[in-house]
Each structure stands twice: as C-alpha cells, then as structure tokens.
C-alpha cells in the first residue's frame, strides 16, 4: 500500500495554523456569538470556520477520488447529474387499487419518472382487507391489495417493462405476497422477469424494531423472509433491487443521522453474510442492494451523511466481503424528505422545508428522490399537494443548475470535515452493533429499540426546551390558525375490496388454492426459499391473508420489547 499523500504541505499547514490561532484570539469575538455552542442535529460541535487544518490528514485520491470510482465519495456514476438526473419518484397510494391507478397515471403524465407505490397498513402487515383486525385501516396510508387481481388493476395500462416501480413493502411479511403478486402479474402480461425494473423495501427492522407491534414475526423469521426475496431476485429477476434498507423509517422513528446510517449498514452486512452462507458470491447480489435514506433538516450534516455512507459502505464491501464489482462497492440510495420535520401548523411552510431537504439530497448525490407533500402532517396528499411536490423536484432539476457539476460541495473544508466525523461515528456504532452480536441479535435483545426511543425522546425535549426551533411550532406561531389547505378524504375501500374478495373466492379453484398453501407449508418445513412457492401460489388467487396465516402458524409470533 502506498503511503498517504496529504493534500496540503507541512509548511502551508503551519502558517495557516499560526494565522488561524491569531484570528481566533484577536479577531473573532466569541462573546458576540448568538449562542455558546453550535451543533449539528446529531450533536457534532460546529466550529466558527473550517480550514485546511481540518483536513491535514486528507489524501485526495484515497479519501475522495473521482465519481464512479473508489471510494465513491464524490458519486456512484462517472457523469452523475450531467448524464442523467435523479429519478423523480413521488410516493402514491390510497384507497382501492382502482383509485391509486388513476393517481399513478396522473403523476406519470405530469413527468414523474417512476412509480413509488405505498400500501395500506393491512397490506403491509400481511392482512386481507376483510380481516376483523383490519377494518379501520383499509385503504389508509396506501393502497389495499389482497390478491393478484388487485395488482393487475393497480398497474392497468402502465407498461411494466418500461416504467420502474418501487414497492414500498416495508415489512418482509407483506413484501413476500405483494412482490410475488407484482411478478405474477408481470408474467400474466407476458413481460419477462429480465425486463422488470424496480425496488422492494423488504426490511426486517421495519417489522421488528421500527413501527413495532405485538405478535409480529420473530426477528429471525422476518430476516429469513427478507433474505429469501433477495436470493430469489438475484436468481430470477436480475434488474430488480430486492431490498431497500429503510434508514428513512428508522430516522422517522427517532434515530439520529449516525444511527440511521449505522443501522442500515449493519442490516446490509447481516443480509450479505446470510446470502454468502446460502452459497451466493458477493458480487452476484451486492450490486442490487439499495438504500433508502432520510433528507432531514440539518442541511450540511445530511450532505455529509450521504457522502460518509458511501465511503463506509465501500470499505465494508471491499475489506470485509472482498467485493470487486464496482457496483457492489457503490452505495446507491433513494431519499425521501423527512416527514417528521413537517408541521401540521402553517402547512404551506412545508413546501420550503421539503425543498431544502431535497436540495441536500441532490447535493449529496441521491439516485432518486421523493419530496413530501405540504399536507402530509395532516392527511394523505391531495392531487394539488402531490403535484406541487413533483414540481418542486422539477424546479430543482431544471432551474437551479445545481446539476451542472458533480459533488459541488466536495472539497468544502466544512463538508469534508463533517463527512470524516460522521464516518468515524458510524463506524463506532457499527462496532457496537457487532459487539452486541450483529443486528439480528441486537433486535432480539431490544438494544435497537432502546437506542431509537431514547433518541426520539431527546429530539422532543430539544424542541420543548426551545433549543431546537421549529417555525410555527415553538416560534412564529399563529394562534387559532385556520387551515389554508383542503384535506384529502380516503375513498370507500373496504366494501370495494370485500366485494372483489368474495367474487374471487367464489370463482377460484379451491383445490389449487389448497395445493398452493400446502406447498407453502412444506417449503417452510424444509427451510426452502418461500418466494419460489409464493410467486406460483398467488397465481391461483391465494390471498395475502391466507399466506400470512400459514407463515404465522409455522414461525410463530414474537412480542418486541416496549420502551
């Protein structure tokens, strides 16, 4: 290995140090600062000014390099946005699939470049719409899907070989059915698997540590479901990203920027180890592992976070797994602007907030972005608020010219210094997870739950003490505010789904259904890949709830710790 080549020579550094110390002593009036200490949102102290002194150790080629090359800090593609800009991928989903299909088509017509489909709570958790537990949540938070017929309706008139689809199937249990229905529907439309492009979320932490509920699947089972889908896609659907490690949601639940990245990487490490154990070469599956990160309020820290995440992942893949394919070494990610940073008060202010969040994602080199609609702290977005969010992307892309050079903040003393500090903290936390026995053990022990809920509480206390100012919430409030926006009402869904389910259950061949469910149980017993049988099973119009029932019967349930 060659020795480090520092960016600045010792003589210059000495001179800058002397001058800097003098400046701090004689020129910079500390007592005139607005506050005693300045910190990033995750608590890293911020100094008045950053200079080459903060980057004394930096070796340009080793630490930053060039876009599309190791260590990928400056971007994962050689041309970045000078070639193709990020994908505008606006989240959409509500009510029955008939209604969401219209919203998809509306967004595509208005220039959205891909689908970002969100599912209702029962679908995410593996319930049929008609399940007694589901009655109040059908069609809420996303679109309701029960059988492959719903999937056909959802994508009716949308060319599956040309439009890429992100399926926001957060929990692996919902993902098994929903992803299988997507694939089975594609087969029915004669679109070969090799043409399918898209992403599933499929993150086991979403089932067991974030958004937890009693009687969920045990962490090991949920982890297996997730790895089954990754293995299946690696073998059969080569252009599909079978997992999108959902740091965004960890962040929404309370994580700091450091925890967000450390936990997604820990999750990706565990999945990689498992897939290698199953006999796959790292360079076969790693190019399709993808990440989902949050675009939060601390502008520079977020930019540094994306850059630090890329460098950390590169090192993990290279040093720990010996990956060689550049696509395995490059961390690709989608960003959603932080829902938790939106306010219900003065909701139009959220347009400005989300625009800043998205700008940081773009300056951080995101591959695709969703911008939150201004009314999301109040309701499911209306057509107008969705359109405004999409237009915010288009303004950012076409008018600001931030796309004209790659990694424009690379070399900023501040951003590079923050990138280094974040990487250090991420690596330290990764070591803690490792010491706990890896991410699956850390979840089983409740360690992750505790980390997240403590961070969420600290965040709330910072708002309540006034240390963190939120416009419209703890400053610049409007008393007795009249809502300036119209709220969305979810269309009737349960009855629509019930009627369809009743018809399908009457029309389908019960023998085939039973055969499919028996095959699923046998697959559990021999620890086979569940996706292999579910993709076939859903073609017989087996419902999502029926699949979940078999899996719960076999794998049992788990009560996560509550904090």
């Amino acid at each position: 290995m060659r020795s480090k080549r520092n960016l600045f020579n010792t003589d210059s550094i000495d001179k800058i140090r002397k001058k800097g110390e003098k400046w701090q002593r004689q020129v910079y009036p500390t007592e005139k600062q607005r506050q005693e200490v300045f910190k990033t949102l995750s608590g890293i102290p911020i100094e008045p000014i950053y200079t080459p002194l903060h980057l004394v150790e930096m070796d340009y080629l080793e630490d930053l390099g060039f876009p599309g090359e190791e260590p990928f800090v400056r971007g994962v593609h050689p041309t970045m946005y000078r070639g193709r800009t990020w994908t505008h991928r606006q989240l959409a989903g509500f009510g029955p699939p008939e209604e969401t299909n219209k919203r998809y088509k509306f967004l595509l017509k208005q220039g959205a470049m891909g689908i970002n489909g969100v599912f209702d709570y029962p679908t995410l958790r593996g319930y049929d719409s008609t399940d007694p537990e589901a009655y109040a949540d059908v069609g809420r938070g996303g679109v309701a899907i029960d059988t492959v017929e719903d999937m056909r309706i959802l994508f009716d008139g949308i060319p599956l070989d040309r439009v890429s689809s992100s399926l926001v199937t957060c929990q692996p249990i919902g993902n098994i059915s929903v992803q299988s229905m997507y694939f089975a529907n594609a087969q029915a439309q004669a679109v070969p698997f090799s043409e399918l492009r898209g992403t599933s979320q499929n993150d086991f932490l979403m089932e067991t540590a974030v958004a937890i509920a009693p009687e969920v699947f045990p962490p090991r089972a949920s982890f297996k479901f997730s790895c089954d889908a990754i293995e299946y896609c690696t073998k059969h659907v080569p252009r599909w990203n079978p997992v999108s490690f959902a740091g965004y949601n960890y962040r929404e639940a309370g994580c700091t920027a450091v925890q967000e990245v450390a936990f997604v990487l820990a999750n990706a490490i565990a999945c990689s180890e498992e897939l290698i154990k199953r006999g796959l070469e790292v360079d076969r599956f790693a190019p399709r592992l993808s990440f989902f990160l949050s675009g939060h309020s601390d502008f520079f820290e977020e930019i540094a976070k994306y850059r630090a995440a890329r460098r950390t992942w590169y090192k993990v893949m290279k040093e720990r797994f010996g990956a060689k394919d550049p696509r395995s070494l490059a961390l690709r990610f989608h960003v959603q602007t932080a829902g938790v940073a939106l306010t219900a008060q003065q909701p139009l202010n959220n347009i400005a907030r989300a625009a800043y969040h998205a700008l940081s994602a773009v300056l951080g080199g995101a591959q695709s972005v969703h911008i939150d609609a201004y009314d999301e702290a109040l309701c499911t977005p209306t057509e107008l608020s969705s359109l405004t969010a999409l237009r915010t992307q288009q303004v950012l892309q076409l008018e600001t010219r931030v796309t004209h050079t790659i990694d424009p903040l690379g070399g900023s003393y501040f951003v590079e210094s923050l990138t280094n500090q974040l990487e250090e903290k991420i690596v330290a936390l990764l070591d803690d997870v490792e010491a706990t026995g890896g991410i699956v053990k850390a979840v089983e022990k409740g360690w992750v739950h505790k980390e997240i809920s403590s961070a969420a509480y600290e965040y709330q206390k910072a708002i309540e003490s006034g240390e963190m100012q939120i416009v419209g919430v703890n400053c610049y409030k409007i008393e007795d505010e009249k809502l300036p926006v119209e709220l969305f009402r979810v269309p009737e869904t349960l009855e629509v789904q019930r009627a369809k389910l009743e018809r399908i259950k009457k029309e389908r061949h019960s023998k085939e259904v039973q055969k499919a469910l028996d095959a699923l149980l046998r697959c559990c017993e021999k620890d086979g890949n569940l996706m292999e049988v579910v993709v076939e099973g859903v073609k017989a119009h087996v419902t999502e709830g029926e699949i979940t029932k078999v899996l719960k019967g076999y794998y049992g349930t788990w009560n996560p710790p509550l904090f």
Binding site: P122, A211, V340, A377, A456, Q460, G472, L562
Partner: protein, 132 residues
C-alpha cells in the same frame, strides 16, 4: 402527610398503523411527570383496550391514531366503555386528526385531541387538571 395517588394512564395505539414515535414519546413524558403509564404496543383492538382499562383500573385512556382511522376507532371504544359502565373514564387522543373530526370526536365524548407539534407539557397539565 398522605401520599398522592399516582395518575394511571393507559396509552394504546389501535389499528395496524406503525407510526409509534409519538405515543412512545408521550409515554415517557407522562412517566417523567410522575404518572403511571401502561403502554401495550401497537395492534390493540378496541375490545382489548377497554378490557385492559377495566383490569388496570386506569384514570384515563390515551389513543394515538395517525392513519386516519380515528372516527371508526374512537366511536367503537366510546361505545364499549358505555357498555361496561365506564362512560366516566377520560378518553383523549392524538395524531393526524383534522379540525372538523376533532369537533366530532369531542361531541362524542372525547376529552381532548392533541395534534402533531403539541408540547408534551401541555398533555401533562391537561391530565393533571382533569384527573387530580
């Protein structure tokens, strides 16, 4: 001096939605304010919630709903409380609940609705005022 009995609150998150950041933060804030909090996690059916309230002898029930399912769930819980002769129990809630629905819920008997951005101290002082 007689020791004041602690206020006992059941916090619950009915339905299948997983947005539990708010309720967990509120649980900790109420505990820090000296109350006894029973929080049993997500996916509670209205029947389970009312049964727990009965068994635990709580002074109030707080429900967190961010999915938009508030109208259906609150009305079911209020009806069940009536059935069990617990109509005096304080029911309050929080979440993404539009102003019009807040009015409707209050006329149904819900004590107060706290929307996103609420200071947890506001919830603490409301409960102390209502229950002490």
């Amino acid at each position: 001096m007689m020791e004041m009995r602690k206020i006992r609150i059941l916090l619950a998150k009915p339905g299948l939605d997983g947005h539990d950041r708010g309720i967990k933060v509120v649980a900790r804030a109420l505990r820090d304010a000296g109350m006894e909090v029973i929080y049993s996690g997500l996916h509670q059916t209205p029947e389970q919630i009312v049964n727990t309230a009965l068994q635990e002898g709580v002074d109030g029930i707080g429900l967190s709903i961010l999915s938009g399912a508030h109208n259906a769930i609150f009305s079911k819980i209020i009806a069940l409380l009536h059935e069990k002769g617990l109509s005096d129990l304080l029911v309050f809630g929080g979440g993404t609940i539009p102003p019009k629905d807040q009015e409707r819920l209050k006329s149904m008997g819900v004590g107060e609705i706290f929307t996103p951005g609420t200071d947890t101290r506001e919830i603490v002082s409301y409960l102390k005022e209502e229950l002490e």
